[in-house]
Symmetry: C2
Subunit: 305 residues, 2 copies
């Protein structure tokens, strides 16, 4: 059984100079299957007794669960939006999973999962955003950040369903590490920011078409929401332009290939630099799986904030 | 004084599956200044008493020496071919070095260095390929590979002036590590392969215009040549197409941004797979500094071998 890989910490001086912020990257782009999702998928696949796991995923959790099921010799079915990037669909299939593509404007992931659950009563449906094992799997990244030798006042992490930020909070607490966690979320998919302002979970009407395809979920998971709310976590909203610029800066100033969702934390530093100056930041780069056509359009763009 | 960063070992399952060869990457793309050259530059800048260092470099050694001189508060002059990539010229200047661009078809680097040496008699001219401190600096990478927990029968490393392969040989020997070192060199810049066949150092007539700009040197350094020859090192020659494909595979199957020179070792596995099957290979990815325009043309190409 393939164990999760330790994160790759990178301090890129040219990126630090460009941002004017002390930043260390915690890159999960070299994690098995190319994103942090393998941490949770591995934990779920090992912990659950069922021989068939089903999940909905905009891509990276699907790949990760497919690989974790292959490693534990389990059957795997993944529901993906038909707008998912082709590399993610192909990679998921390459690990032996069955992929079901759905038009998310016509049927929600939740509805399709309910149908599959009825069809395969002995299977287990994994919530990529809210399974306790998912949050625990992500907590391992918090524990690794707590062991970082450099100082770290703030950990900045992308927010989709919230299980990554929640897991990091859990992992840091367990190690008594005092860093704050700040979420980074696309402005056009800002259910987490709106939820924290409203004091209750708010849901997007439909899956937003942000570049950050890992943050297209409709709302925070219930457990993740509880953890984010009681810890008073802040969320920085970022524009699509900031996401594109962040992908480009990671390419040009850190030699790091990141997917748009993976660049959200750096986009937050671009969007609200005053919140991060005079602080030591650890930015989680969650994944690197992106089509070459989209990637080239992002790194070749010339827009600035 | 900024110490060199330990190399980043990456085992990318999709790349292993695609190549059909057990390969671990030793990536120097996150080394300070984005290439392995900082190891040697740091050592030279610390070891030499002179307050002004001069070197010729197609780019990465220049950046590295500039950064090492900045860290040790020394003056730095770098001679670069006028065909060097713009990012490398700008990065070198950003570290405070003076950059002198030359048309290599009209004046060789050696000639220009001789002129500068006469002009600045108290300065020290560093040979990027042959200074004993350069080979020693590169030997630290051999020592890190020797500590790798996985098995490793063969280390594949790009060959330009030969100081990297020579340094790795020195480092592995010092640790009594039995792996063989195999060089990877562009076919259109094959002075090392020709030298090893002829039993004497052969020189290219002019700097070859290979994609792998770090391998455009005219000939092996004298010390590096001695080490490569007495150790019976083999060199695999690779086509420009194989270099492009290797850059693309590192992008798509390992999430790793590599410059063309950095992809030479993977190109060698593509060019001569039969030499590497049934072996555990460690491929050194020497650097990641590449213009976005060139990079996009490489990862968007559809050629195969």
């Amino acid at each position: 059984v393939l164990l999760p890989r330790a994160t790759t910490f990178i301090r890129a001086q040219r990126l630090v100079d460009r941002l004017g912020i002390e930043v260390t990257l915690a890159s999960e782009t070299f994690q098995h299957t190319g994103s942090f999702k393998y941490r949770a998928a591995h934990r779920v696949a090992c912990a659950r007794p069922q021989r068939h796991l089903i999940a909905a995923s905009s891509g990276n959790f699907g790949q990760a669960l497919a690989a974790a099921c292959a490693a534990t010799k389990k059957q795997c079915t993944i529901v993906m939006p038909s707008t998912s990037s082709q590399v993610k669909v192909e990679a998921t299939r390459s690990y032996g999973a069955e992929v079901q593509l759905i038009d998310v404007d016509r049927v929600s992931r939740v509805e399709r999962l309910a149908e599959l659950s009825a069809l395969f009563p002995s299977a287990f449906v994994v919530s990529a955003t809210d399974d306790p094992d998912v949050i625990e799997g992500n907590a391992t990244l918090g524990a690794e950040i707590a062991e970082l030798s450099q100082s770290c006042d703030v950990v900045v992490a992308p927010v989709g369903g919230g299980a990554l930020a929640a897991g990091i909070i859990v992992g840091l607490r367990r190690e008594d590490f005092p860093a704050r966690v700040v979420g980074a979320e696309p402005s056009i998919a800002n259910d987490a920011a709106r939820s924290l302002r409203a004091g209750r979970r708010v849901t997007n009407d439909r899956e937003p078409r942000t570049l950050a395809d890992g943050a297209r979920s409709l709302c925070l998971g219930a457990r993740s929401w509880e953890i984010l709310e009681e810890s008073g976590t802040e969320v920085v909203e970022v524009s699509e332009l900031a996401i594109a610029l962040a992908v480009r800066l990671l390419f040009s100033h850190a030699n790091l290939k990141a997917e748009p969702t993976g660049a959200l934390a750096i986009a937050a530093l671009l969007a609200a630099p005053e919140q991060f100056r005079e602080r030591s930041c650890c930015c989680v780069v969650t994944g690197g799986n992106v089509d070459s056509a989209l990637y080239c359009s992002l790194i070749s763009s010339s827009g600035d904030l």
